[in-house]
Amino acid sequence: MNKLLKYSIEAIVILAILGACYYGITKINPSVTRGNVQNVRITLEIQNQKSDTLGKIAVGDPVTDNAKTTFLGKITEVSKLLPYRIVAEDYKNGKFIQSPVEGYYNREVVVTSEAQVSDKNIMIGETELKVGYVIQLKNEKYVLYSVVTKIDTEK
């Protein structure tokens, strides 16, 4: 009985230490809280580039998040060149309009990958995916800033 009590106390101590360590790690790095592994389609918009730069992007290109050095996956879709537009004032008609900037374009790419999906977030390695987040895509041919515009998870 005495031995059982002793071992129980020691087990509680070990569990408490492990719990404290887990709490500390997840507080310091919330990305440790993982979810299920699912396939995701990430749509990224590369903005404000000249056509020859955007012409280097091709289906099959592997891309890495340059900031986190996370391999994101391969590009599976590339849109045609889209006009790069900025908000401009139309003082005559009293409205703000989307005005194309001559010689500069956007291009949307889709990257397919596996990610950790939870209710709280979607992570590929250390890279957190949220609409509006800026990710610098890097491979041997280019380094380009992109904005996450859509995230589709498998049903």
Binding site: V87, E89, K95, F96, V117, D119, V131, G132
Partner: protein
């Protein structure tokens, strides 16, 4: 100081000592929480709006009904989204004739996200959800599974 059988000064087992200290800390923590922090608190169901201004439709589409919403800073859940509404974003513009109008912004939206939650009402009337204060006009970084943007709390009921 510690003998071969793991006892300090030959009297107390080191694991037993750690366990006793841990138990004391736990008892103190729970008592403090129950007797001091909980004094005067009441649980209440609330609804409020998160107002997000001047965003693209892709941002609107990253907030879903029936999904949880989080305060990104405190990393805690702050309720469930019940409705997402959008309207044309507008901003003040002075026209060439000197008049001032509330001009529409093409392809930009103002979002109103309705949220329901369980909150605790503090003794001074402050509403809290976890570590997040829910006060009309307070700004926070509202986060969902797929979206994240600055929002202003409005219409707390």
């Amino acid at each position: 100081m510690i003998t071969k059988d793991g006892k300090i000064f030959g009297k107390i087992n080191i694991f037993d000592l750690v366990a006793l200290l841990l138990a004391a800390v736990l008892v103190f923590g729970v008592s403090y929480r129950l007797l001091v922090l909980k004094r005067g608190e009441t649980a209440v169901d609330i609804t409020y709006h998160l107002v997000i201004k001047n965003v693209r439709d892709v941002t609107v589409n990253s907030f879903f009904e029936n999904s949880p919403v989080f305060d990104y800073k405190s990393d805690s859940g702050i309720g469930t989204i019940t409705k997402v509404e959008k309207e044309q974003a507008r901003a003040v513009m002075k026209l060439l004739d000197g008049s001032v109008v509330n001009a529409p912004i093409d392809e930009r939206f103002d979002m109103t996200v309705s949220v329901k939650a369980k909150a605790t009402k503090q003794g001074d009337g402050t509403l809290m959800i976890g570590k997040t204060k829910i006060i009309d006009g307070l700004e926070l970084k509202a986060s969902t599974q797929k979206g994240n943007c600055m929002a202003t709390i409005r219409d707390v009921r």
